[in-house]
Each structure stands twice: as C-alpha cells, then as structure tokens.
Amino acid sequence: MSPSWGTLSEPERARRRRRFALDVAADALVAREAPPEGVRPPRFDQIYEAARDPRAALTEPLAAALAADDRARTAFEALLRDGAVCWFPVAAAAASPTGLDAREESGFRIWLRPSSAGADQVYVLIRDREERDVRPMAIIALPPAGPPVCAPLPEDIDGVYQLIEREDSPLVRAIRDPASKVALR
C-alpha cells in the first residue's frame, strides 16, 4: 500500500504537484494539433537543405523568410559559404556606374554579356579554369537586402556554364551589385 496523500509532508506534496504539472505540460506541448499563431521562422533543416543540397530548390516562401529573418539568413550564408564549390565575397566597388560585369574567385570567373537575341537579355557565363572533382550545380546570389536568388546551372560546354536572364532579373542585379555575395553550389 502506498502512502496516502494525507500522510505526506508539505514539501513532498509540493514536489508531486510540480512533477504532475510538468508531465502534463510536456504532454500538452507535444500533443498540440495546430501550430501557434503568428508567422513561423524557417526551420533549420529547411535552411540546411537549401544551402547544402546541390539539387535543392530555393522556394519562394523560404527565400522571402530568409530576407525577413536575420538569424535564418546568417545561418544560410554560413552554411552556403562552408559548403560552396566556390564562394564570391562582397566585391570591391565597381568602376562602372551599372555595377560589376565580372567576378573572379578561386579559378572561377562569372561575367555578364549582352545577348544579341534581345536588348533586355544578358548571358550569365561561368567559366571554371581548373579540373575539379566536384562541379557546381547552381548559382546562388545573396544581395545585401531582399531574398536570395538561386538558379540551377545547365551542363557546361567546354568548362563554361551559360544562363540567359533578363537584364533586370534579381540574379543579374545581384551579380552586378558589389555588395552581393555569390556562391556556386
């Protein structure tokens, strides 16, 4: 027979009450059926996948969340930098008023070239000057403000990856902006 409630000392009762309250609270917090109200920041596993998985897409909601949440953006940038095939930090100020036309880092060169097909289109060209075991599969640009931009890379032709973009696309604007950081993932 266990001791009855009436025979317990006051500290014992308090301890058991607290134990009960804690158990019930833990049950309730884990068993809840709906998320708490309000905007949820992006989860770390989502950030990790977007930054590290070469084939992962950067979804629009996640990109928007990264723009809005400093903590998440810092984590995304750190993961991207650590795992990138090549990382282009903030560049020196551009000589041209339209911004940078090219960036170079660790054997990679990214440059922009107007397209003959249309005045509002430009080629984004990426050349890899070195033989590597790992090839980039996407380009990700982190502008100083606003959502990051990600574009998958096609197969290279003779070491050159070629994308065609609108002149005013977020990717082109980010590459031109010296304050942006760029990763080849």
Binding site: W5, G6, A21, V24, A26, A31, R43, A78, D82
Partner: protein, 519 residues
Amino acid sequence: MTGRILHGADEVLQGALWDLGQIGDENGPKYPDAVLRRLAAKVLEGRAHEPLVFRLCHLARAAAFAAEEGSMGWLEFFCDPGAGRAGWAAGWFHARLPAEGGGSSEGPPVTRGAAEVVLRYSSRAEPVTVSFGAMPLLAAFMEFLLNTLPFDSLGGAASSLSRPDLGWRELQDTANALSRSVYAWLREHTRPVQDSRQFDVMARFLAERGEGDDFAIEDIDDAAVLAFWRGASLEPETEFRTFRKTFRTFLRLAEALREDAWREGIDGPEVLGGAMERAGREPADPSSPGLDRMRAPWSVGDPWEGVAEGEDAPSPLEVLAGSEIKFLLASEVKRLTLVDAHGPFLPPLVRSLLRDTCFGQAQGRISQGLRANPAAVAALTGAPPATGYDEEAESLGALMVHLDDLMLATVAALAAAEDGGETVRRLDFETLGRGRRLLKGLRRRGFDRVRAGEPEALDDLRRTIPAMVALRQRLAPVCARLREGAPWDMLQREDEDVFAEQFARIYGTTDAREGGAAS
C-alpha cells in the same frame, strides 16, 4: 516573453517544439513523440537542460570527427533525417569511426564501441561515452538549439569541440558557454510550470470518494476514472472533455503519487534565476547530478535482465522502434505506446485501457465529425466502437507472443554467432531449435541481415535485448489481467450504453440511449 503563455511556454517556445514535430520525410517524423516529450520536459524543468548540454558537446565532437571534411561536417549527423533513431545513429558512427580498442587514456580521440561512442580528452584519464540510445534525444536537442539560438554560437562551439587535442577544461568551458546561452534563451521564453488546477480537481474528487477525505494511488481505479470523466467532461471550459485525456491525466497523477527512487534527483529542482546561479555555479558542471543517468542503461550487466529505468533513458519502445531492424510495425508501436509509457500503472486499469482504445477512438471521430458535418454527429454518438474489447485484448496478447518470438529468435541468432552470454549458453536444444525456426520465418526488414550474421545487425540485436525484455515485462501483467477479465463482451455492452449516453450529453445530441452505470 512572446504571446500567450501555455503550460509554462510562450508562443516562441511552443513554436520551436511544434517545428521539431514537423521535421521528417516520406518515412515519417524524424523524432518520435516520446523523444519530443522528454525534450519538452527537459526545457520546462528549470535547469534540467544542463547535463544535456554537456552530453551534447560530447556528441557534437564525435560527429565532427566522424563527418567528412569541412568545419560544419558535424551537421551531417544532426541534420540527417535518420538522427532521430538510435539504430541509424549506430550505423552512421560504425561506418565512420575506428573501433574502440580498450584502454583508458591511450588511443584515438573518438572511437566507437558496440553500443556507444567513446571520447578521450587530454588531461582526463577516464574516457567518456555517449550511448547510441541517448542520441535521438540529443539530436532533437541540437535541432531545437539550431532553431532557437544564433547559428554563430553553435558553429563556434562545434568548431572548438572538433580540435583533436581538446582538453577536458576546454570542453567544460565550451559546454558552460553554450549552457549559458541556452539558459538565457529559456529564461526569456519559459515560466515555472506551477499550474496545479487539474491536480487539485482530481485530488479533491479522489478524496471525496476515499475514506476520511484522503486518497492513495490505489484509489485510482476504473470506476474512479469513469465517474470522474462523467462529471468533469460536462463542466464548461473543462480540460477533461475526452475520456482519453482524462484517463491519461489520471495515469500522470498515479506517476506523481508513486514513491519512485529515480525521481529523487529532481527534488527541489532549481528554477531559472535561482540560488545556484546567484552563487556563481557553473551551469554545466560535469559533476552535476544526473549526468550519469544519460549513460546507456544496458551498457553494463546482463542485457537479459532488462532496462534499468532512468529519467533520461529511452523507453523500451523507443529503443525497439528506433532500431534498423523492424521488430515492430507502426500499428504495433501505436498499440504499445500506453503500455510502454505507463506499464506499471495499467494492470489495475485494464478496463480503462480498453475504454481508452475503443471509445477514445470513437470520441475522436465525433470531434472530427463536429468540425466536418455536425448534423451527422448524432449517429456517431450511439455507434458501437470500431474495435471491440475482446479484439483489442487479443491483439495485445498477440503482441506478447510476438515479443516472446523475437526474444527466442534473438537467442538463436546470437547462439549462431557464438555470443549472447551465459543466458544463451544455458538454453536447451529444443528452445534453440524453436528460436532458429522463428528466426528463419521472420520476414521483416533487417532480419535477413541478422540471418546472414552481419556484425552490425548482431550489434543492433544486442543493443535491443534489454528493451525487448523490459517491454515484455510491462506488457505481461496487462495481458494477464486482460485474460483474467475475459470475455469482455458483456462489459463492453455495458460501456457502450454509458459512453453513448455521455457522448450525447457532451455533444448535445438527442438520441441518447439510457444506460446504467458501469464500473
């Protein structure tokens, strides 16, 4: 604090715990509910996170050593969808770390044993171990921290932990710094859990039913649970609307009332901002009581003796469900959840267990129906449960047989590998022969590897033996009571009347059937 406080947690903390439950892939959630529940208890319970932080630092160091190159390689372990299962963690470290060669102070900084990783620090003679069984909780804790603390603080800590020549004092410093960050975050987002309204209502009810306005754990019986629910479920704004919630809260009350040795460590838990902090105590002092409780309970002694219970030890069902060998199907895990969590309290409450399973499910359907099609609810309140009492009792009995079969098959597998210790050596030929036949017939995932004698599969088997034994020990008395009470059909019919009447009262339907009081 942000938003509405619920059970000691503000909305940010509620959201962080919710987020952990949402992580997963096509194979299901990354972390089992039991792991998340233990983590929730840790973060709510004053400074209970401190020993956890210390163990987490050891695991982060082990993961950094085992991972591929890169300063953030340690995240490979924690961010993998398998990290919520001990069996996956064991396989991951087995594939990446050298085997432990024994000895106390010599050898590589991080190695792996059969059931744990082993870490050596300069300036400390004794190695430290982190069991594979403890890893799902630690991985969930790390992911909780990755979702809440600034990434720089965790990345910086992990970076210093990955240094090969790390000394014990440096490990302590890193753990203490991380613990302070956790402490500061929790202090911002938690309040002491002191709400005892539910306790008071239940205690008052039991005292009124008991002798001399007093009560003991033995007063929590089937009749008391049902009678309480019949009254409390009708109160406005009640927290006891469902039988399932009521029964499970009574089980928590029974736990709180039980004299329990392993609860002694939480006597007067220190609240955040308490006297210890004011006295300048280092938060993650490795001599903290409770640190040893994180060790694998099955790493010492005879595994066939079962799991030594401990506050931080994974439950037997968690161990079995977390194995790479498919001992239990998802439906079997679900059926055993209450037995696993509350086994010692269930034998006198087997009728409530049957009510919980059969009518709890029915009440869940009514609640869903209320949201989807209120007009159809009247038909649901009087409907018999989808599962009958006898059927449920038989299913639990079949699981007992299944656990017995698993143990015999395990014996046969270990005997074939000339392993298993004294318990296996004592077995007769007939038992071993039966075990061999059972092993041959098991068609679930992973048993082909066991039959082939793969060392990792046998290691997995050895790690899970105590859990099998412990789960069987919890289930056996429940099944015995169910057999004693069989057949259950008469009692089920009595209960059908009672529940139909009560559902009609709760949900305001008009076709209530009259029914007598069941016990």
